[in-house]
């Protein structure tokens, strides 16, 4: 592909703990990516990925595989131990965003990225109105016109299919599916080029899951936003991801077009995952 990726992560690693003589040079040999001597956890080890305009990239893996750590680092919730992170959008200089100032990180998070968490408590202020929740990112991006923000929030509520009559209510009164919709509306509020979704359908009823995933597909189609979707559930990935990365123990073991991975899985872990789906 000649096109430049909109988002590029290179050689990203995240460890918790300082490491010791035993583990520093032998990460590959550790079982379960924890050092038995110093208890250092190598949550993610040398992960690189590219995201292209308009595509949905899936990351699948079991819990503890490091997939949410990767996503967290892209939203600056997790500080990288090593690696480079670039966003190729017009306003952005080609610099390693992991090394940017906190102010710059905050600005990028507010204007170029949207995040939807599995746990709506992380993404929403449960006691503020849905409207304020959606406006929060706009306010953070220095919008200071109330009417304009209310109007934009109405449009977004329409997109995520929440009746405007409920917009002054607090998400604490909403169902799980509705809370995810508010989170999605909030993530979209500043029209970011990249959306990050972390296990957003986990814990929801199957029919609600399908609705939320439909919504994601619609958003991708109509707004042509690029997305990274993290899930432990291959069924979710199969429904929406164009390309897929498979992670085990903090490392990428397989990647490719989603259809290709589903039809011809190479790694034993992926094979197990695919066969269990059938």
């Amino acid at each position: 592909m000649a096109e430049k990726p909109i988002l590029a992560l290179k050689h990203f690693s995240k460890q918790y703990g300082s490491g010791c003589d035993h583990c520093r040079d032998n990460r590959q040999e550790l079982t379960k990516n924890i050092c038995p001597f110093c208890q250092t956890v190598y949550a993610v080890d040398d992960v690189s990925l590219d995201l292209y305009k308009g595509e949905i990239l899936g990351i699948v893996g079991e819990s503890g595989s490091g997939k949410s750590t990767v996503l967290g680092s892209l939203y600056f919730n997790v500080e990288a131990s090593e690696g480079e992170y670039q966003l190729n959008v017009p306003q952005s200089q080609p610099l390693n965003l992991f090394e940017a100032s906190q102010q710059k990180k905050t600005r990028i998070r507010n204007t170029m990225l949207g995040m939807v968490y599995q746990n709506p408590m992380l993404g929403l202020r449960m006691k503020y109105s849905a409207l304020s929740n959606i406006a929060e990112k706009m306010i953070a991006a220095n919008h200071r016109n109330v009417e304009a923000m209310v109007e934009r929030s109405r449009q977004l509520l329409d997109v995520v299919d929440i009746a405007t009559i409920r917009m002054k209510e607090a998400p604490v009164n909403f169902s799980g599916g509705m809370q995810q919709r508010v989170q999605i509306a909030k993530a979209l509020s500043n029209n970011p080029p990249v959306l990050l979704l972390d296990e957003i359908t986990t814990g929801l009823d199957l029919s609600v899951q399908a609705d939320v995933l439909d919504l994601i597909k619609t958003i991708q189609r109509e707004l042509s936003i690029s997305m990274i979707v993290v899930s432990h559930d291959l069924a979710v990935i199969r429904m929406i991801a164009d390309r897929t990365i498979v992670m085990v123990n903090g490392r990428i073991i397989e990647s490719g077009l989603t259809d290709q991975i589903l039809e011809d899985p190479q790694h034993p872990y992926t094979q197990k995952l695919v066969y269990s789906l059938l």
Partner: protein, 284 residues
């Protein structure tokens, strides 16, 4: 009981230390400087922050005025003034113009401050973000990054619910384009008085152990939205029943017999000055 301690109660080393914190506060307008707040002979929450500032600054050449909610004669104002006088023998006054050092709770006097005057405000909660973020560790980070959207969000939510952004006293202000600051629980009516004011305004929170300042001629802007600008309390159509003044903060007074409300100037020394002047004009 006769006072038996040091000039200005605190020992000289403590006063010096507090003055150094004041200098830092003046150098960084609106920034909350932590200081080792001392226990005072009056209770925490009753003006110990303001009192430590006043006692660290006061000298024999000063003239001190103390007000509480606009009144020089309110019990707490009396109590604090007495303490200052007992421990320093300094001259005191009711007249804003005469004072070099004014300690106040919840009001800025109606008479504008002049160069050389210091206004010390007592502060119960110095952190403007505290109502939206309970953790000090977090709010310190938010100040460091200049990340204040939470304060605007709180106002946004009020507008959504009540169609009005400013609802009560202690409305946050942005000082010198940088630090978000709690102006102390002064009415919103007093917020504009801070902007490019000629005197030095010092704010002291004893219990929370913070000192901050608005130096003379500093921009102080009450936060708001473009289409919902900051507003202060209105007394439209009302006037002080004694002076007829309309451009001052008014107390609402209920007649116990008729249950009707009338209004009176809250800044009592200013009211008395106006009334005295008129009396003189009449007789002079």
């Amino acid at each position: 009981m006769k006072y038996q301690g040091n000039y200005g109660f605190l020992d000289e080393l403590s006063k010096k230390e507090i003055r150094r914190s004041i200098l830092k506060a003046v150098a960084i307008p609106g920034y909350q400087v932590p200081f080792a707040s001392r226990e005072m002979p009056i209770a925490r929450g009753w003006g110990t922050g303001g009192l430590q500032l006043t006692l660290s600054l006061v000298g024999p050449q000063d003239c001190v005025k103390v007000i509480d909610q606009g009144s020089d004669e309110s019990v707490n104002a009396v109590s604090i003034r007495q303490l200052i006088q007992d421990t320093t023998q300094v001259e005191t006054t009711w007249h804003t113009r005469e004072a070099t050092l004014i300690q106040s709770r919840h009001r800025i006097p109606e008479v504008p401050l002049k160069e050389g005057q210091i206004l010390v405000l007592q502060v119960p909660i110095p952190e403007p973000l505290r109502s939206v973020e309970p953790s000090e560790e977090e709010t310190r980070k938010l100040h460091a990054y200049g990340e204040y959207s939470l304060a605007w969000l709180k106002i946004f939510e009020q507008i959504i619910k009540f169609d009005q952004g400013s609802l009560s006293a202690d409305h946050p202000v942005l000082v010198n384009h940088r630090y978000l600051m709690a102006p102390s629980p002064i009415p919103r009516f007093d917020n504009p008085k801070m902007n490019y004011n000629e005197g030095l305004i010092l704010l002291g929170a004893g219990r929370e152990k913070k000192i901050y300042a608005v130096p003379p001629y500093t921009e102080v802007k009450s936060i708001d939205f473009d289409d919902y600008p900051f507003t202060f309390e209105t007394f439209a159509g009302k006037a002080c029943r004694l002076s007829g003044l309309t451009d001052v903060f008014l107390d609402e007074i209920i007649d116990p017999k008729t249950q009707t409300a009338s209004y009176q100037t809250n800044d009592q020394s200013y009211l008395l000055e106006i009334l005295d002047e008129r009396e003189k004009e009449k007789h002079g």
